[in-house]
Symmetry: D2
Subunit: 268 residues, 4 copies
Amino acid sequence: MRKTKPIRSDIAWSTPDRITVRGKDMASEILGHMNLGDMAFLQLTGKGPTPEQSRVFNAMLITLVEHGITPSAIVARMTYAGAPESLQAAVAAGLCGLGTVFVGSTEGAARMLYEAVQAAADTSDLERVASATVDAFRARKEIVPGIGHPYHKPVDPRAPRLFEIAAENGMAGRYTTLMSLIARQAEAKSGKPLPVNATGAIGAICCEFGFPWKVVRGFGVMARAIGLVGHILEESQQPMAMEILWRTEEEAARHLRPTSASADGVTS
Amino acid sequence: MRKTKPIRSDIAWSTPDRITVRGKDMASEILGHMNLGDMAFLQLTGKGPTPEQSRVFNAMLITLVEHGITPSAIVARMTYAGAPESLQAAVAAGLCGLGTVFVGSTEGAARMLYEAVQAAADTSDLERVASATVDAFRARKEIVPGIGHPYHKPVDPRAPRLFEIAAENGMAGRYTTLMSLIARQAEAKSGKPLPVNATGAIGAICCEFGFPWKVVRGFGVMARAIGLVGHILEESQQPMAMEILWRTEEEAARHLRPTSASADGVTS
Amino acid sequence: MRKTKPIRSDIAWSTPDRITVRGKDMASEILGHMNLGDMAFLQLTGKGPTPEQSRVFNAMLITLVEHGITPSAIVARMTYAGAPESLQAAVAAGLCGLGTVFVGSTEGAARMLYEAVQAAADTSDLERVASATVDAFRARKEIVPGIGHPYHKPVDPRAPRLFEIAAENGMAGRYTTLMSLIARQAEAKSGKPLPVNATGAIGAICCEFGFPWKVVRGFGVMARAIGLVGHILEESQQPMAMEILWRTEEEAARHLRPTSASADGVTS
Amino acid sequence: MRKTKPIRSDIAWSTPDRITVRGKDMASEILGHMNLGDMAFLQLTGKGPTPEQSRVFNAMLITLVEHGITPSAIVARMTYAGAPESLQAAVAAGLCGLGTVFVGSTEGAARMLYEAVQAAADTSDLERVASATVDAFRARKEIVPGIGHPYHKPVDPRAPRLFEIAAENGMAGRYTTLMSLIARQAEAKSGKPLPVNATGAIGAICCEFGFPWKVVRGFGVMARAIGLVGHILEESQQPMAMEILWRTEEEAARHLRPTSASADGVTS
């Protein structure tokens, strides 16, 4: 017979007259005293942020809220068009695609930085750690995460600003330095401009906070949930989902029936 | 032949050296100047909040982040147990159930308040509007949304605190007043204690902001996404999902095979 | 103290050497003896289908598997593009939009037929029931579900074929008759061609089976899950998701920056 | 300026009077002529199955429909409890967890078999290929996928039945043989009983069909969608979701407040 294990959660509990989250009283210690980013910090770490941590953590999350017309925005809008009574499912659908391709480089940058420092015999020489890290990625023919950007050239404007905010709040450290050095080494070894991008900056800042790299993806998920509600609200007022659908099926229909002169109609 | 319609979004755009969200430059006007709740406000309304709006809006969202062991928390944890490589899908699964049963009363309260004011011949007499509203719900044998709580008795501690924050910031108005009056009328007509609960307070505050009631559910969705990342992080360190599963299937197995003396095993 | 309720499921159970679903032994009574549609019937009704039920039920489900380029297909493909390691989440995202707009009319047709028969004083005169039903929809200015099609004109070829299969297998009855009569009445009263479409035929057949209208949507969901795996497989070999994304964001960018001569780039 | 690429899909198309899927006319060639498993085969491969393929493919999918009380069943039921108006989102949530932990071994078995054959210098000696494969897994301290079962002992009854059906239909071949040899080698090398389980049998049969291993997970997803609709229907009639929730939060509350004598109930 299987031995039953206890079920417990240390995040929150309630009595009839109190709700406590991470040891803080919701009514008297949280509401009116914290902003939403601070609450996220409390929820994840069990502690309220210092003012410096609050500024850096809020900036990091804000960076991930909105990226314009992304796959997740289109997915949320199309899902909402089919099930407007289930706004929550439209956000959920939009989040499902935040996997290795689009948010992977944030996670990948954090993982690279942690592993580089752990593997290093001597972490006082970060220049050498950076060089070895870039060499290892190049030897495996893998892309170094967190550097370069196909559109934001020569510099992704979010990255230096995030590093500036980290520095102003005493949160620039070995990981932000190492990320910058890795970018410089990659530029030298490849001969291409490859500055730190937003995902590299965020990955490095996550390391400064000490967040496990496996949860880094969660920051993109929570921030993007906010952005997607904005896209759904706009879709309800100024829709694009059905127009995208119609254009797509019209073109797909043309390719399938090239000889049909009257093929101006549409599937459904 | 169908006439093509333009596709446009007014939320964000980019040039190689700038990212602009709702008309504000990400690097110089948003990062370091706003908190995450403010960014959500900007994303949804197109404008940054005033300091007063910022305090009320952040408090409202924070209230919805964490409610302990909820269905959505269990769902996210169980999904993560099966697909730990897809943290985003675990959050998505948890959000899918934020429908009419659990977050419906926030939406329902906002809708009730808007419709009560629109239907009223004379909105100067809110006491009468409240009485008519309660009568109409009672005549339809529907539950008045936003009042009473099965556990937080006599008072849901979040509601008076949210109203206090609204009042301190000049955002108490006809909707917060009407919500309180509706609760009082419902208590008088039913003879039961039915104070405004957290969802009633949030619904009323959404009306003060002027948010369409159809987007009110979105606030619960974005806030809960934050809470779920916290539960997933805890599940990765102190799991409960498989224990819940095993207990459930053990009990279900006992009901199906009552005569089997050796039925101590489990399906899978 | 809350009284614990039992947890039980009557769908399936296992012993070390047997798996039983709905009372049938998986190895000796199900595998090799049933097709997938029959298994779906067993899972939902607790009984294996008769040969006639098997033919009709399989045909009904098959109709819903594939509809070309639909919102759910685009959503599944875009989600897969972002998270190719989570095929299951791509299918899930595609299913999230099967709500009131696109699969609603199947559910709506079944509900209409059940309610029309329940409300009728005399169900021997189905012509009169049909007339009253259409009048009621017209009075409420609601669209009669299950009739007409914007593209498949004059007749949706799936509907007469499904009715033919039902008739050949002794499953045409009062509901399929009523559906046809409703279409004829709607045509007479509106002066427009409004033959029964695929969703009307499916709704009527669901009523002949006696399925509750609330589960009718589930047939579309299970069938479309099959179709979406097909689209994801094609996306992995012949992708369209990123091309749709790029075109959409390019056009959205043009609308936002009409004066910028060099605006040929795009965000990501 | 980016060069536009064509958008096309070869799965299905329509004209006003015809719907064609994979080159077959829906009304005259598919409906009434195929079962749901055959349609899935057509959708994925572009060809209708032979009678032999039909029997094996249907059996394989049926095996994956229902596994009793699984995490995905609980997730679907809990999501439905919160959003009963969105049945599709409840199925979607249940599918999200079909990741590496629970359906991974089917995919893993198929991949192992393909890679073992590709890597083998001489595929005529499958015994040697099996031995080398098991050695490689043991050297990497990885679990060999597709063999052994914690509950179905000594034999998972689905596996020999699936292999029997494959053999009866001329679809037993090098991959089913290799899977059996791998199980025997693993038993010999480990000294433990490790017969082929259902996921090993399915993985091997997928290889006999020639399906890419990356789509193998899709068979579990489409089959389980059917099973989940069955669980949701039962939940609507004989619920368990809220009972699971209440028990879980009651226990979690006890662990958090061990000294509170009156802590006998909790909500949220």
